[in-house]
């Protein structure tokens, strides 16, 4: 076999490879939430009326508000990526900061939403919950699991965005090497996509 000489320590960054790795990771996230969607489908088919009742009870306003917040946060991070590609570092950092603010707003809303339910006794093993029919027990169980798991991902995403913001600040992400920024953006968009499904399933389950 003939050989092609290459330097002993090639320092190369594989933009497509990094993107592939992130998309594969996102695939695992889709299947992670997918398990919960399977459960939701199964139980909804089994307890249609109870799921309807539960969905009506949840605070639709907060659900819609959080949807708008996440959609806008996705816009913000997408603008951040375009801005970096165009060399507009300042806009990138502003948009990343905005995304983080939106993420935190989402989490604060989620906190109040959960607190309201908990005060009404509707939480796992809560007094009011245990008096409800089985289907509603399941509905609220799924509600807490799905929004809880999603909330953890919002938190993780916010942390990742903050780290990314710092990388931009320190010029570790640049116009010619912005793979980390793009990949964090991809992650954030997936968090948004999950919520796009959660909204109708949980809040608009009419």
């Amino acid at each position: 076999m003939s050989s092609v000489p290459v330097p002993v320590h090639p320092i190369h960054k594989d933009y497509q490879g990094a993107k592939l790795g992130m998309w594969l990771f996102l695939s695992t996230e889709i299947l992670l939430f997918g398990g919960l969607f399977l459960l939701y489908s199964a139980y909804r088919a089994r307890y249609p009326l109870d799921f309807h009742t539960g969905g009506q009870h949840l605070d639709t306003f907060i659900g819609i508000a959080n949807t708008v917040i996440l959609l806008t946060s996705s816009l913000a991070v997408a603008i951040a990526v375009t801005a970096m590609q165009k060399g507009n570092r300042r806009l990138t950092m502003i948009c990343l900061g905005a995304t983080i603010v939106f993420a935190l707003m989402f989490l604060v809303n989620k906190y109040f939403e959960w607190m309201a339910e908990i005060h009404r006794g509707i939480y796992p093993n809560g007094p009011a919950l245990l008096k409800l029919p089985d289907g509603e027990k399941i509905f609220y169980g799924l509600y807490y699991c799905m929004t809880g798991l999603h909330g953890l991902h919002v938190l993780a995403g916010a942390a990742a965005l903050a780290i990314t913001l710092d990388f931009v600040r320190r010029h570790k992400i640049t116009r010619s090497d912005f793979s980390k920024l793009e990949n964090v953006g991809l992650y954030w968009h997936l968090v948004d996509v999950v919520w796009i499904f959660l909204l109708p399933l949980l809040y608009l389950a009419a």
Binding site: W23, L31, A42, L75, V81, I196, P200
Partner: protein, 100 residues
């Protein structure tokens, strides 16, 4: 394929600001449609709405915000594969659930 640097791909396709904002507005509009149909109408309309509007919203995020429209076919194939697997898992489970 291999370790060759593909310069044209290195900087990726740039999605214009305008496109991003238009998509965002579309997403808000679709959300409004979804909410309206779900609250103002019976389940008869809201479930079909959920089944069409929601994937459409998700598709917009995938295609434009996540650049999927501009990526190589492999990435589109990957998303189809993953969603297909999920649908298969749910579908086969219903082979059990629907008949008990």
């Amino acid at each position: 394929m291999g370790q060759t640097m593909e310069h044209a791909e290195e900087h990726g396709h740039v999605v214009p600001y305008r496109t991003l904002i238009v998509i965002w507005l579309l997403l808000l509009l679709l959300t409004a449609v979804l909410v309206y149909v779900s609250t103002a109408y019976h389940a008869a309309l809201s479930v079909p709405a959920l089944l069409t509007v929601t994937p459409l919203k998700a598709g917009l995020v995938f295609f434009y915000f996540m650049h999927l429209k501009y990526e190589k076919p492999f990435f589109k194939g990957l998303v189809i594969l993953v969603l297909g697997a999920l649908i298969l898992f749910i579908g086969l489970t219903f082979a059990d659930l629907s008949y008990r």
